[in-house]
């Protein structure tokens, strides 16, 4: 799975714990092709905040062409416009989310938030005690080597 469509780890902003094992997950949407993940969601949110695709991509440290490619993929798969870009006039270059773009972003955010909580709990349940024991074991071995 490439990260072309912004399907990064949903836990990547969580600080690493002292436990050696921690949960990792990617959640994304697909039709014929993968088209919407964490990266695309962040881009839409940033476009809404900044009012311009160029500013949004700069804020995210992403190239403008990559941002446009992400948007094109979403719009192609869904066959609808998610970001309306005004051409010319006073509002030249201004971009806003269409109602469909807003709806998609909100649904995805709520969906991932709920899954994130569940995945964390499920991971803790299924790997409970395991990581700590192994940590100690690894720690002992390292001490032995010293």
């Amino acid at each position: 799975m490439s990260t072309e469509n912004g399907t990064e780890n949903i836990f990547q902003e969580e600080p690493a714990t002292k436990q050696s094992l921690r949960a990792g997950a990617k959640l994304w949407l697909a039709m014929e092709d993968d088209f919407f993940g964490v990266g695309a969601a962040r881009l839409l949110a940033m476009v809404e905040k900044t009012g311009a695709v160029r500013t949004a991509s700069r804020e995210m440290g992403m190239s403008y062409s990559k941002a446009m490619k992400i948007l094109a993929t979403v719009e192609h798969e869904l066959n609808c416009v998610v970001v309306s870009r005004r051409v010319g006039g006073k509002s030249f270059g201004r971009a806003t989310l269409t109602p469909k773009g807003k709806d998609l972003l909100k649904r995805y955010e709520m969906f991932t938030e709920e899954c994130k909580d569940f995945i964390k709990q499920s991971f803790a349940k299924h790997f409970d005690g395991y990581a700590c024991i192994e940590n100690e074991r690894v720690a002992e071995e390292r001490v032995d080597k010293d």
């Binding site: 949960a23 697909a30 609808c80 071995e141």
Partner: protein, 123 residues
Amino acid sequence: LKETVKAKSRLWASIDEGCFGPGTATLLEFVAKTGSIKKACDEMGMSYRKAFNVLNDLERELGYAVLSRQQGGKDGGRSVLTEEGKELLQRYERFVAECDDFVKKAFDKHFKGFTYSDEQDKA
């Protein structure tokens, strides 16, 4: 029938720099089934070198062996999962099964009535 939007997920356990994910789990399942890394690779269409690296990295990160390997023989030696390897695989599979189930339900809930294309609006 037109394609509809669906959710996909990939879950893994991060171990310091490495990770235990679907690829590693499948490899261990095949080794358990076939009793050899070489046969597992053949069935999976994975190179032996790649499998060897995956397993070595995993064991180094974990600090213990997931496979007990007996070298030599005409098939390149037999390999079986250690108790720790079995346990890790089982924990991962249970975790994934539970989460996959939840992700499906959460998707259905949050994307209920989601319309996207302009064609759908006209319909």
